[in-house]
């Protein structure tokens, strides 16, 4: 999958020590060439010598199926947890309305403000922005 590959060995020490002569895209090419001279061919040789044990299609299919089952299970567990917690919160709020309306309004305002802050916070907006969708 390598897109670029030049395999010239290191020419000599003086070549390695020279600084980038030009700016812009030529400098980029020069740096790529330097990389090839310094490490590129060694990496290629190492790459070729590494032969991982590739799992069979059956075992990967099994892995995919198991992982999907696990995720489905996790989703149901989360949904159940969501309904239980929601039920508890709603019951608490109903009790609060019946006992003290003023306190209920204060709680609602505080929760609304916290929710707004959470939604506009840059951390939330940045998180997961097209992270796994290439």
């Amino acid at each position: 999958m390598r897109r670029k590959n030049h395999h010239d060995g290191p020419k000599n020490k003086r070549d390695m020590e020279t600084e980038s002569p030009i700016e812009g895209s030529s400098s980029e090419e020069w740096e790529a060439e330097q990389f090839e001279q310094l490490v590129g061919r060694h990496l290629k040789q190492w790459d070729d010598s590494v032969t991982p044990e590739i799992p069979s299609i059956q075992s990967l299919e099994q892995l995919a199926g198991d992982q999907r089952d696990r995720l489905r299970g996790r989703l149901w567990r989360d949904l159940l947890l969501f309904w239980v917690v929601s039920g508890m919160i709603l019951s608490g709020l109903v009790l609060l309305v019946q006992r003290d309306l003023k306190l209920f309004i204060i709680v609602q305002v505080v929760v609304l403000m916290a929710a707004c802050l959470f939604v506009v916070s840059p951390v939330v907006r940045r998180e997961g922005r097209g992270k796994w969708t290439n």
Binding site: R3, L38, D47, E61, Q67
Partner: protein, 179 residues
């Protein structure tokens, strides 16, 4: 002609995998296994960590295959997931401590090379000794040929930072290897 057919096959397999076909996904994972393993090994310079990350990448790919939009090659998608997982792991202090014994990991890789009667060049030692924040962009740019924009997105850093890390990293390599 053969290449075009192959590309169409790959595309069909990718579409099937995105639709939830486990067999198609298994084929894609198998076809890209070596590439992913070799990439993770070069990036981590640690066999045990590379194996862990390959497994985590595959699980993440299975989990997220529905969001894959076929805009890039499947291998590129896997590499982006693997890179993000590695950077996240390294950022977590506790995990970093766990993998701190980098020298031991390098020795294990050198030992494997010696068992295969391969020479272990100084250049790879120099690459292994670099901080991971510099080694990763160097490999992605100069060995795999990815664009600055892709690398910046995967590492979650500005393009200017990618460029300066590449420049400084290369300068460091030159200095180390000329001594």
């Amino acid at each position: 002609m053969v290449t075009t057919e192959r590309r169409m096959d790959d595309e069909t397999t990718m579409k099937q995998a995105v639709r939830g076909d486990d067999r198609a996904l298994a084929i894609l994972l198998r076809d890209n296994y070596s590439l992913l393993y070799r990439y993770m090994l070069k990036v981590t310079m640690n066999k045990a960590m590379a194996e862990d990350l390959v497994q985590e990448t595959m699980l993440k790919a299975i989990e997220r295959i529905g969001t894959f939009q076929l805009r890039s090659k499947f291998s590129t998608w896997l590499i982006s997931i693997g890179t993000r997982l590695y950077m996240d792991e390294m950022r977590k202090k506790e995990r970093e401590r766990r993998w701190r014994n980098a020298e031991q990991a390098m020795q294990s890789i050198r030992f494997d090379a010696a068992m295969r009667q391969d020479e272990w060049p100084e250049a790879l030692d120099a690459l292994g000794e670099m901080p991971y924040e510099i080694r990763v962009p160097i490999l992605l740019k100069y060995y795999y040929g990815y664009a600055y924009e892709e690398i910046a997105k995967w590492l979650d850093i500005p393009i200017g930072t990618v460029k300066s890390r590449l420049h400084n990293g290369l300068k460091h390599l030159r200095k180390e290897l000329s001594q």
